[in-house]
Amino acid sequence: MNPEFRQALYETHLLIEEHAKDREIEDNPLPESIARKEAPRIPDVPEHEVVRHYLRLSQMNYGVDTGFYPLGSCTMKYNPKYSEALCRERDALDLHPYQPEDTVQGTLRIMYELQEMLAEIGGMDSVSLQPAAGAQGEFTGLAIVHGYYKNNNEERDEVVLPDTSHGTNPASAAMLGYKTIEIPSKEGCVDLKALREAVGENTAAFMLTNPNTLGLFEEDVLEIADIVHGSGALLYYDGANLNAIMGKTDPGKMNFDIMHFNLHKTFSTPHGGGGPGSGPVGVVEDLKSYLPVPLVKKEGDKFILDYSLENSIGRVKGFYGNWMVLLRAYAYILERGREGLTQVSERAVLNSNYLRKKLEGTLELPYKPLRKHEFVLSGQKLKKEGLRTMDLAKRLLDYGYHAPTIYFPLIVDEALMVEPTETERKETLDEFAAIIEKIMNENPETVKNAPHNTAVGRVDETRAAKKPIASYKMREGDEK
């Protein structure tokens, strides 16, 4: 066992367990008929105990600031601290969405400039900052597709996507009522023949991320675009993997019509334990009038919220997007600049290929070697010892690493999807590769029973699903 990593473990009672027994609300000003009688069971705990509780919980959690977090598809890069400091400024956080435009000119300027910067990076003509996350960006993009065909009186009810696509792609398409058609890949990339057969007069859109989830660049992308456009469908770019190509190519150049950005991935806003993120959507000129409203527009030297888009799909959420996330991304793009963002992609791809090369002798690497920002290994080899990729992932935790994404994409057996990002140094990658090799030679029992050094041992997720306890209340019901 590695003595270098040992996660904290504290007694894990819930604060809510300290609630008083059935407290009646006194002097409730509301009318008897709608007044609450019993107070909600929220305990009254001294503040320092609350702070201790959460400080302890934080020490039982692993973030990028704790260590290497090569979670494929999620771009877990180090997030600069200046962005956090800016978000604590009163002139950033103490703003109401409906205060007069002339009192929020700073915010509107930043949003306007961010719209412009993202349009430039994506090679798009216009960008909306409203979507709250990548999946909502996809949803927005497909709602635009939906609105566009409705306007043109075309009935197209299918969305085609490769079998390597992110789960959110088919899920977003389904939410908009589209039938999804998955086409099998060839050598890990889009099979042009299968694509030609799949698209037609019913196809509304083809969704693609490039590089794809295997980290392979779809070299035939222009031909893909021709096939898709030839069928009258639109081409959608899932921006989850944009970290690989900045300054090298862009979705506009690749002839995509619509795309979303993941600001919490590419533009280094923290992932927040699951969110908030931000998923701006960019479109080509022909689709601009369909974007959600409002956009930020510049009129003279003033910035205004513009609701005047002719075919706008309306709104996908309240207000104008996750402003505090937008602010962080804006600061990051300013700091990196033209050269810096290009270097981000260069280093992300260098790190990925370096680590890929270090590991391809240890684990199997299906498909061709040259990858972009991430790569997918197969843990098939582990089966000989009665192990699975899951076991390797859990054992990695023992050595103080977050595990890569596992069992995705689905076309790789026992997949291990590794995305090192540009913010890691060579030494970290070397150590990580050495540890994987070490684990492969460990006693299989040790690996099978991992993790040993984390706050808790392997968690029984099946049991959780059998008798779900989603709140303190449900646990109590169980005990009764």
């Binding site: 929220i42 600031d65 999946a135 959110t168 969110g275 370096y354 994404t405």
Partner: protein, 450 residues
């Protein structure tokens, strides 16, 4: 750089450009952005731009309409600034992520205590998207031939366009129920007329967009029972420390926004969409949910619950496409609730109620105003009306000169928001408003009148 050189050597290539040789020349592009800045330059530049804003602290502020300015205890910021929390992501590896998992489980538990529901998820994006997902969920719970869902007209004006997008690809039809022009509550006759056992469900919000509380809650549980449909209730979580929880009047799903707890106004985002439901519908839920279980040594542990509902497993048959949510904001809300405690929150809620009612009666005393304009109980937000057509431009000018954000104009002096009402203002009052604030607003309203 030495390091880069070693890495390139290991790959047997001369330069990093070789790693991009699979990108065809035809699609090559370069960025046209400015040169990068140093951290110091970024800080100076962005702070200078932010100075063009005027923060709420510079005003007598009465803005609400879905975003409220409450006091955020300092400890909340300390906790959410722990980068073990904020620099982590969705807890796919539960063993190393117990801290966030437990914290989110506690958030879910608090939401359940407030709403009376048994299950909650870790967040939706916000109130409108939570309601949209609730309507989609009612269709999963209650598959019916006719997919009517009844929504009252007294909901926030930004909700309708969101619902339209979320229902775009479904066969669910929204049917609008009128509100009572005297009480601001749902027009019960109209609801009764439109309700039937052929509908999926219906939505009731208390408070609604006018801040009005529904006073005859039993009526709604009766409608629900008679029609066997799904009732979705909208809430303000702070008001629930004093208000009967929606579970007591029949709600199956409760939605709202937890922004009043621990989240600054932030120009409208990020906030945290509340989504809670009865335990028996847990498998129909959208989004991430945390559950309690044990580890291999039978010690208590937490993990993501029922992931097979979700997009990364079920793809096009998932209950929702949501992946990244608003978890950190959920954490902020939970910390706020625990720091203030049950009694503390109740005290804040009472202060909100008292302040709002004091201001309402001060305005009522001004000739020409009806305050509140609806004959109903309210919590911390209310509508005032003036039968005469006041000049909106002049009013805004006066507010500007006096540094007042007087609330949100609704009614016939706006282009699209509840035009059927006389010139009205939606005024929110919280524990942050003092007597001086109120005096400034009252004086200004008096001046406009003259």
């Amino acid at each position: 750089m030495e390091e880069t050189k070693e890495m390139l050597d290991h790959l047997g290539i001369a330069g990093v450009e070789e790693l991009f040789k699979d990108i065809p020349d035809k699609i090559r592009s370069e960025l046209k952005l400015e040169e990068g800045l140093t951290e110091m330059e970024v800080m100076n530049r962005v702070k200078d731009i932010l100075k063009e804003n005027r923060s709420l602290s510079e005003f007598s502020n009465f803005m609400g309409g879905g975003i409220y300015r409450h006091y955020v205890p300092t400890a909340v910021n300390e906790v959410v600034s722990r980068s073990e929390f904020y620099s982590s992501y969705t807890p796919y590896q539960p063993e190393i992520s117990q801290g966030m998992l437990q914290a989110l489980f506690e958030y879910q538990s608090l939401i359940c205590e407030l709403t009376g529901m048994e299950a909650a998820n870790t967040s939706m994006y916000d109130y409108p998207t939570a309601l949209a997902e609730a309507i989609l969920m009612s269709d999963r719970i209650n598959r019916r031939k006719k997919h009517r869902f009844l929504v009252p007209e007294n909901i926030h004006w930004e909700i309708e366009p969101v619902l339209k997008n979320y229902l775009r690809g479904t066969d669910i039809i929204l049917e609008w129920v009128k509100y009572d022009k005297t009480t601001g509550q749902i027009d019960k006759e109209d609801l009764k007329r439109k309700a039937g056992d052929d509908m999926l469900g219906f939505f009731v919000s208390s408070p609604n967009v006018f801040g009005v509380l529904e006073e005859d809650t039993k009526f709604y549980s009766d409608i629900k029972d008679e029609t066997g449909s799904v009732m979705v209730a909208g809430c303000d979580p702070l008001s629930l420390t004093l208000l009967q929880p929606p579970s007591e009047w029949g709600a199956d799903i409760v939605v709202g926004d937890s922004q009043p707890f621990g989240i600054p106004p932030s120009f409208g985002g990020p906030t945290v969409g509340i989504f809670a439901c009865k335990g028996r519908y847990i498998r129909r839920m959208p989004g991430r949910m945390i559950g309690e279980t044990v580890d291999k040594d039978d010690e208590r542990a937490y993990c993501m619950l029922l992931q097979t509902r979700e997009q990364h497993i079920r793809r096009d048959r998932a209950t929702s496409n949501i992946c990244t949510n608003q978890s950190l904001m959920a954490l902020a809300s939970a910390v706020h609730m625990f720091v203030k405690g049950g009694k503390g929150l109740e005290k804040i809620a009472k202060k909100n109620y008292d302040n709002a009612h004091r201001l309402a009666s001060l305005i009522e005393d001004i000739d020409g105003y009806s305050s509140p304009s609806f004959d109903s109980e309210f919590f911390n937000e209310f509508l005032i009306g003036n039968q005469k057509m006041i000049d909106l431009k002049e009013f805004k000018e006066r507010c500007k000169n006096n540094d007042i954000l007087p609330g949100i104009p609704l009614g016939s002096w706006t282009e699209s928001k509840f035009k059927e009402l006389p010139p009205s203002l939606l005024i929110a009052v919280t524990e942050m408003n003092d007597a001086e604030d109120m005096e400034v607003l009252v004086n200004t309203l008096q001046e406009v009148k003259e």
